[in-house]
């Protein structure tokens, strides 16, 4: 095989490989689906464990104005956690 033929074949190979990258992935098959068992195990592992999410159990208000009204009514100071990204929902 000449150098020119090898380069040509190599080019075809690269082109086929590139085309393969643009082929739409096949639809999810049954083998790729999560089983009921996996579904339960993943949810259990991901969701907050008992005691882990105590911060979220605090009855946080989400409006400074509502906090002012409640604080005025109850005679309490306001504790504000101010964060770039909501403290209760950005990670």
């Amino acid at each position: 095989m000449t150098l020119r033929q090898r380069l040509l074949l190599g080019g075809v190979g690269v082109m086929l490989a590139a085309l393969a990258l643009f082929v739409r992935p096949a639809p999810t098959t049954a083998a790729e689906q999560l089983t009921d068992d996996q579904f339960a195990k993943v949810r259990k592992a991901v969701m907050p464990a008992d005691g882990e999410d105590d911060f979220a159990k605090i009855p946080w208000l989400t409006s400074i104005w509502d906090a002012r009204i409640k604080a005025a009514k109850e005679g309490k100071p306001i504790l504000l956690w101010e964060m770039d990204g909501h403290p209760l929902g950005c990670g």
């Binding site: 639809p27 101010e82 929902g89």
Partner: protein, 317 residues
């Protein structure tokens, strides 16, 4: 202490410091007095203690040692008790009506829509079992939280057209796109970079009716995603390949879902602008659990992290 001695409130500073309404003006004035002036529009984040009329009692950056914060709170309570009764006694301070809200920087859940809580966590897998992963970044091993919002119209589009066992149909594209782009992100170490529209290499979700009763229609959700910053995932500096399973229940009489339990598991790699610390090398398991939120709790009605760009979140751009 947060519950008994104080009125606890938390907000997203990205919105609050920009709001041109009563709440924004009150906050900026109070933060200025606390010395957190936010020059040139910079963040004013931190932990503040103040009275209903805006008198500052304490301020500290977040992320402090618990004992440091306890001292800040104790000092603030001491100052509060020393204030004249007109500033602290129950009913002594009058708070006026809020007035017009700044629509550019306020977000409220869509009326009649659905709020779905989205937890994410880094995981370890061993023999088909999953456990929490380990992370060098403090809190990076904990479950993150975000919320997926669906409009009333989208909820109806997600429902089965026919309540017949075996009927199968794809999740509406707009919902599938929102779910993948904005809610399958690694936000376990803070604000993530969201997927761009062209990062969705595969995004397939199918609903199948599995049971029909007088009370509702049970559905199974199967899904598969490949999200990557490059067309060839092996070249992508960030990606996620996962599969999903869910159990949903549509209640025709109520016109909504009363169950929305979904699990997603897959391999994630790469980091984001603000999530570089503690990133695990290579590909590692990242899981998601979706469940209906409780909209009666204010903390479950906060806006999705990605909805700062509202038009894009709703798929209007």
């Amino acid at each position: 202490m947060a519950t008994t001695e104080f009125v606890p409130v938390c907000t997203d500073d990205w919105y609050t410091r920009r709001r041109q309404d009563s709440e924004g003006e009150f906050f900026r004035k109070m933060a200025d007095a606390a010395g957190k002036k936010g020059e040139n529009g910079a963040t004013r984040q931190g932990i503040y203690v103040f009275t209903a009329d805006g008198t500052v009692l304490g301020y500290k950056n977040a992320g402090q040692d618990a004992e440091v914060m306890k001292k800040v709170f104790r000092d603030a309570l001491f100052k509060f008790d020393k204030l004249p009764e007109g500033k602290r006694k129950a009913g002594a301070v009058s708070v006026p009506d809020h007035g017009r809200l700044d629509p550019r920087y306020t977000r409220t859940p869509p009326t009649g829509g659905l709020i779905v809580r989205v937890n994410a966590r880094i995981l370890e897998e061993k023999n088909g079992n999953y456990s929490a992963g380990q992370c060098e970044f403090t809190g990076g091993d904990m479950a993150s939280r975000d919320f997926l919002w669906l409009t009333k119209a989208e909820v109806k589009q997600l429902a089965p057209a026919k309540a017949e066992v075996g009927q199968s149909y794809p999740m509406p594209t707009k919902i599938a796109t929102r779910l993948a782009r904005y809610h399958l992100n690694d936000n376990t170490r803070g604000e993530p970079n969201f997927w761009a529209a062209d990062h969705l290499r595969k995004n397939e979700w199918t609903l199948t009716v599995t049971k029909v009763t007088d009370d509702g229609v049970e559905l199974r959700l199967d899904g598969g995603v490949l999200l990557a910053t490059q067309a060839d995932p092996t070249d992508a500096d960030r990606g996620y390949e996962g599969k999903a399973r869910g159990v949903l229940r549509w209640v025709p009489k109520k016109g909504t879902f009363d169950q929305f339990d979904v699990a997603v598991i897959g391999s994630h790699w790469g980091d984001g602008t603000f999530t570089k610390r503690g990133v695990r090398p290579g590909k590692s398991p990242l899981g998601f659990a979706l469940s209906l939120a409780d909209p009666s709790k204010p903390g479950e009605t906060i806006a999705p992290q990605a909805i700062r760009n509202e038009g894009e979140y709703w798929g209007q751009n």
